[in-house]
Subunit: 240 residues, 2 copies
């Protein structure tokens, strides 16, 4: 029964691809949680929570290696073509971006620890960093949803929204410079907060990379490095 057999193989393959996608989603959830906890710990000064984020980073690293390994195995065993191959290759890039977002979470926790261990006196401009953090987490959550639904319209919107995160970052930077100039004793802490804001801004960059990968999977067009207008035209091409 060749048809049944090939049906069976094809169903098995589909199940493998579904499994791969759900593992990416699982990893994404873990990364999102790390970022949220790191920012919350920075805002509250909870040293135990900072330590926990730093300690949990290895779980994300482990997932990157094993999902990547799965990608190589699927390609070798199934020899996927077209959209399936694009999905597997995109997953291999997406887990690298997720792992690096995880690194930023650990970096935020380590820098926060340094700030609070040095002096608890003044941690300026928390409200703006909180806002930036919310934007960063939202962008990550949106792009994970866009990946699950392979939603190119939403991905195009996410790519465009990265500019807002960059603007917010520059606003925080200007405020911190004023702060440092007014009271040079705050320079060390203000510099550390700059690095935390920078880490959040990088979450936006990585989320944007992931959004580009989603468009690549669906459309088979590489939208990296083309102007936003052209990119949106490519991404939305058949949706109009």
């Amino acid at each position: 029964m060749p048809t049944l057999t090939s049906d069976h193989i094809s169903r098995q393959f589909d199940a493998e691809l579904d499994g791969l996608r759900s593992r990416v989603t699982q990893m994404g959830g873990l990364v999102e949680n790390q970022i949220e906890r790191a920012i919350a710990a920075f805002l509250s000064g909870d040293l135990d929570a900072m330590e926990q984020v730093i300690a949990d980073d290895h779980r994300i690293n482990g997932l990157e290696v094993s999902i990547d390994d799965e990608c190589a195995h699927i390609i070798a065993r199934r020899q996927p073509a077209a959209g399936d191959l694009r999905l597997v290759m995109a997953v291999s890039k997406i887990v690298t971006d997720l792992e690096r977002i995880g690194d930023e979470a650990a970096k935020i926790a380590r820098t926060a620890r340094e700030i609070y261990q040095r002096d608890r006196l003044q941690v300026p401009r928390l409200a703006d960093v909180r806002k930036l953090g919310e934007l960063g987490v939202e962008m990550l959550r949106d792009v994970l949803n866009a990946f699950v639904r392979l939603d190119v319209v939403e991905s195009a919107r996410i790519i465009r929204s990265d500019a807002m995160l960059d603007d917010n970052f520059r606003g925080i930077l200007r405020q911190l410079i004023t702060y440092m100039m007014e009271d040079p004793r705050t320079i060390s802490s203000a510099l550390d907060i700059t690095f935390i804001a920078k880490a959040i801004e990088r979450i936006g960059d990585h989320s944007k990379n992931i959004a580009e990968s989603v468009i690549y999977v669906v459309k088979g067009k590489d939208v990296r490095h083309i102007a936003i207008d052209m990119m949106e035209r490519e991404a939305l091409g058949n949706e109009d």
Copy 2:
């Protein structure tokens, strides 16, 4: 003549893989040149050279997209296995790291332009940034050579050497903090120099990623996220 034909196909495939590797090397050379020119322009204050680096970034972006595309085509057409598949998948990751090093070069040039357009009065600690830049470029050059020769011993050494770059960065940061405290008027420029130093330090991170990819190609072992000692044992396994 089936043997001749399969020989022919295999020789064609080898030629394709060689072509892929030489295009990565070509892209690496371009990235190295961008970094060198960006740092030199920052050190000399040459605004024209800064503009040139910013304008040339698109050439690197174009190479990333086309090499990545080639990787997908080789996998779809040749269905490579084992070491060949690892090489193609690693190349797809390596060009992403190279492209992001290119981004750092453009970032250095843009930040340098901001510093010199703001005020030419004092750009502190140039000697240390020059040293850091030399270390970063050396690391990139070394890892490109390690990729060409698929040299795991050298790759392991490069991964270890990244710590030196981090130490140098932290030294520069301490000096810049002292500088800002002594003369708060330098805060804006000192902060920009911090970002330039940070960009160079990230070149080290990406070079380390590339070195890990080289070890993965040769050994088929994923050495990301394991302790340096264990990583060296893995990498050097059959060389002893």
